[in-house]
Symmetry: C3
Amino acid sequence: MTLAPESTRSPAWAASLHVEVQQFYAHQMQLLDLGEAEQWAGTFTEDATFAVPTLPEPVRGRAGLVAATSRAAAELAAAGQRHRHFIGMFDVRPRPDGAVDVRSYAIVYASQIGGESRVHRVCVCQDVLVRQGGELRVLARTVTRDDLA
Amino acid sequence: MTLAPESTRSPAWAASLHVEVQQFYAHQMQLLDLGEAEQWAGTFTEDATFAVPTLPEPVRGRAGLVAATSRAAAELAAAGQRHRHFIGMFDVRPRPDGAVDVRSYAIVYASQIGGESRVHRVCVCQDVLVRQGGELRVLARTVTRDDLA
Amino acid sequence: MTLAPESTRSPAWAASLHVEVQQFYAHQMQLLDLGEAEQWAGTFTEDATFAVPTLPEPVRGRAGLVAATSRAAAELAAAGQRHRHFIGMFDVRPRPDGAVDVRSYAIVYASQIGGESRVHRVCVCQDVLVRQGGELRVLARTVTRDDLA
């Protein structure tokens, strides 16, 4: 139940990392929902992988992330819809080498403009974060969806 | 991506503020859902503004906040419903002058007593917080709803 | 509005506890949704009580918690459904004796595998946490549901 690598580190250090992780995800998901594809992709490493159940293999690298996100944003706009990715429930596990495993839940809400809001997807997000130039970045993301086998 | 004013401050300071913001919102929204209109209004400054898309101009000041909230609570009770405001996804940006910009997501759930629960509203909440007598207070709140143009 | 016992403690201490509480709940609820009944029950004290509105009296002790959780997991699997417990909105109140009162919101999402996802339940969770061997444990949990009178 304890975070193993923290046993040699202070509670204040652990708290500080946990909060940094929370701020990172809040900002990252807000960028996504704002359609800021380039800035959003910038929160991943250059060679990041992003695996989702609806693609046969992971998206790899920022250009692919920008393309996938821009396409999704265009489709939403055409459909007169808005999506919000509400992420939380962060189980944060620092590794001895400085990488951080984070398992979280992400709920996607869909709203029809002029219509109703509803739950669209319930996802589990398993990330490996690394630090580059002092900033957290996603090195690898694996998303699963509760409605898929 | 970094919180500019924090570059001259410690990570522990930033983490401490972020957590204080989280505790502030959790308590504030719980007061609202409990129908504690006076206590809830006390988490705003005396001259606070509260802008929502369904009103032609912002509510201004605590008396107006109490009136609006009490009315909403009475309508819910009459309809046999409960609302919960679940807020999170805090993007926290301290200003050099001590004010804090917070952009967050708030999901409103509606439950019919004896019936079903559902998503009622998906909102983005943009606040300016200030400190008064050591406590955080909302100086200005602007709420947008995803289902409205 | 302030956390009374913190007046004699540092903001860093309060932030550290708040984050520890968040990590505790994220991990605990993920264990529940993973069907890890034994590990989940291990996050309660041996003599913990768990009161829900659908049972005439509280479940008491870990064996009862394991049994109730295992039964629920088997029913979900048989129905081809997945549940996720998304908890947040932590109002954290440390007591002078070291126990911690936590009032939070928990949304339960249900997904039909091969079908849709939706809000299942909207709950308020009122816990008393205690520390045992350095770890937080639930001593008493009371859950209410918004759809019940």
